[in-house]
């Protein structure tokens, strides 16, 4: 009784999770996936999980933010540049996070204040940040800062027989971000307002919720999470490069959608979105193991994506029907 939240939240999440588990199980059976394969999903996708978390807020309100890939890149390039100039990590990290927050909020402000379309504004943001990257440096800059080096390589190592799987600290941090987000969405007024705005902006405003402020804030959060993702990415690669993460926003959006988020807003679970990231990572791993001709790679990735979305769609439609039937019988 306590467990049954609304259908779309719980059931879609279960479906997504189940599909992930099945896929992973198949990987273990057919390709001999190891523990480290699982942990690497987190190690390799930590930055994407964090960035997806940010865009998830925006998607929940029914908006879209396609600037995050550029913001991630900018964060990496700018911090690498500053660190090269000799600034300390303690100065650089808060600074880039602040810039991400401010930039996102500015986009949100333009969207809300002047009633502009989110797609256009964030597309301009995408161009802008990408351009700043190449203005700062066209070449890749390596990060040699000792603090970064230390954090980047910090990891927990397990020993299981002959295997030595490891998880990096920043991957754990990404998991923490997801948990924190889940908490915010569930237990704070802001979180609930985000859902309400996505459900119906007009109703939310008539119910006296601070719609405008919330909308600006989600873009701010998206920018913030993107720069946080950028910090993680710069730990992940210890470099900044103006062309990195092109098209990352699509990965983030499709992760969220695979995890059951509705792009029209109001429906979605952050756990689903995070699992969505892992699923995309898993698809890539499977493709690598399957060792395809390179021209088949894209086709296979797309086919798996398609299969996944259709299965999910079919299951949720059936679930919806079954639920209706139950309701009617009960009535």
């Amino acid at each position: 009784m306590k467990l049954k939240r609304t259908f779309s939240e719980i059931s879609l999440l279960t479906i997504t999770l189940a599909l992930f588990v099945i896929m992973y199980g198949a990987g273990v059976l057919f390709y001999g996936f190891r523990i480290s394969t699982f942990l690497n999903l987190f190690n390799d996708n930590a930055y994407l999980i964090v960035a997806t978390t940010g865009i998830f807020f925006v998607l929940l309100t029914g908006g879209i933010d396609i600037s995050i890939g550029s913001v991630v890149a900018f964060t990496c390039v700018f911090s690498a540049w500053l660190l090269e100039k000799g600034f300390s990590a303690g100065f650089v990290i808060p600074l880039v996070l602040l810039i991400g927050l401010a930039f996102g909020s500015l986009q949100g402000f333009l969207i809300v204040k002047f009633d502009l379309q989110p797609f256009i504004v964030t597309l301009a943001g995408l161009f802008f940040m990408r351009a700043l990257c190449s203005v700062i440096s066209k070449a890749a800059i390596a990060i040699k800062n000792p603090f970064y080096l230390k954090v980047a390589l910090a990891k927990i190592r397990f020993t299981l027989g002959r295997q030595h799987p490891k998880i990096y600290f920043y991957a754990l941090f990404a998991v923490a971000v997801v948990l924190g987000t889940a908490f915010i969405l569930k237990f704070t007024k802001f979180g609930r307002t985000v859902y309400a705005v996505g459900g119906s902006e007009q109703s939310a405003s008539l119910m006296g919720l601070p719609v405008k402020r919330t909308r600006v804030m989600v873009y701010g959060l998206s920018g913030f999470c993107a720069s946080l993702g950028g910090v993680i990415y710069s730990l992940y690669t210890l470099a900044g490069y103006s062309l990195q993460n092109v098209g990352m926003e699509l990965d983030a959006i499709s992760s969220a959608v695979i995890g059951g988020t509705l792009l029209t807003g109001g429906v979605g679970s952050i756990f689903g979105a995070a699992i969505g990231v892992l699923i995309q990572g898993l698809i890539q791993t499977v493709v690598t193991y399957q060792n395809l001709n390179t021209w088949w790679t894209k086709v296979t990735v797309a086919a798996l994506l398609c299969l996944f979305i259709i299965i999910q769609r079919a299951m949720s439609v059936n679930g919806e029907k079954a639920r209706k039937n139950r309701l009617i019988k009960a009535a």
Partner: protein, 502 residues
Amino acid sequence: MKSGILLDMKNICKEYPGVQALDNVPFQLEAGEIHALLGENGAGKSTLIKVLTGAESLTSGAVFLNGKSVRVKNPLQAQHMGISTVYQEVNLCPNLSVSENIHIGREPRTRYGLIDWKTMESRSRELLAGFDLDIDVIRALDNYSVAVQQMVAIARSCDISARILILDEPTSSLTDTEVDKLFSVMRRLRDEGMGIIFVTHFLDQVYQVCDRITVLRNGRYICTENTKALDKVSLVGRMIGKDYSELSGSRTSREETGDKDILMDVRGLYKSGTISPLNLSLRQGEILGFGGLLGSGRSEAARVIFGADRPDGGDLSLEGEPALFKTPLEGIRAGLAFCPEERKVEGIVGELSIRDNIMLALQAKKGMTKPLDPDEVDRLTRKYIELLQIKTPDEHQTVKNLSGGNQQKVILARWLATDPRILILDEPTRGIDVGTKAEIQKIMISLADGGMSVVFISSEIDEMMRCCERMVVLKDRAVVCELSGETLTESRVMQSIAGKGE
């Protein structure tokens, strides 16, 4: 009843592009009164309320709360000032649970300042129990019918401890028992000293609960009177601006229908999970009512017949020819028309003009590649704007800018324009003012006289009794009995609904 002026609005003007929605309107609300705000569709009632709650900004005028001049910028501020509102269209978030919809914005918190879901849910259950509503409060709102949603919205605003409660047509989709429940809550709140503004088109309800009445017409203030001092006929006179004595058109003038030809015959039509096998027949030129309680499956039956929901099995024949409609278009082409009950979701196409909205079904019937003659459309549009008294500066106005009642009329016009053989009307008079309501009933009767068959669904038993010559009563998604002629009385209907009819 302790009086004292809670709210004083002076010279309120509100202008929309091309429309003077409010023109120098005054309005006063006292503590401890229920004040009816009345007027025809488009008179400016909802606008006055939106201006008061800050949902729309006023063009000019002044608002005094407790004697202090205030400027309400948004609904949030209005709430802080103690104004709680139920807007005309259900304005809740369909994706949130019922309990959240009741509490959002003022959630109970735990010690650590976090949302306390447990308390929220138990409080919601208690609150709804006060309205005799026993539903699962943790389910998302869009699982429930409009009526339930409307009750939730009412419960929400009654629960907000406010000085002023505004109810804009809250009863349009409620049954009598629910309305009674609402009224007892309203009386209690009034006695606690709250001021309540109540908008409705049911004049009986006005006389049941209201202390005073303010009438608007065409965006202008007409009068404020004590309810006792104003009888129904003169009230309607004030509302429509001319003398009006003929309030009730009735079917008494119509002859018995037993020997008319059967136009449509439905045998065993069903859709699993929606409606049990349905048997009924519709005669040429009759008005057939679907009776039943909320959720009894009346809308569902109508939808399956029309083809809005694809039936799983069964037979339907038109003039003896088998015809089963899998899509609305098939139904329309066969001469059916269906005016759905949820106008916001399934009726209007908000961003299109009145003209386009009216011609939509006719155009679809004719086919996409054969565009209607623009002159013909202009003629039709004007005809229906006039016939149904749609209040608008011109037919190019977008529909979402119309008042609720006028939107309903546009949808009605859309279906009348297709010149159907069978017209299915699901709550067509919801939110429509008395004058026009009687007008629509008349139109219905005259169409039936002209040979059209009408299926009529309404929550108002009176209205059904007045118009229908036969009635099919549904219960738990199945037909329980059929009443006509002598047997068609209000008490028989009630009995069959209650299950004691057979």
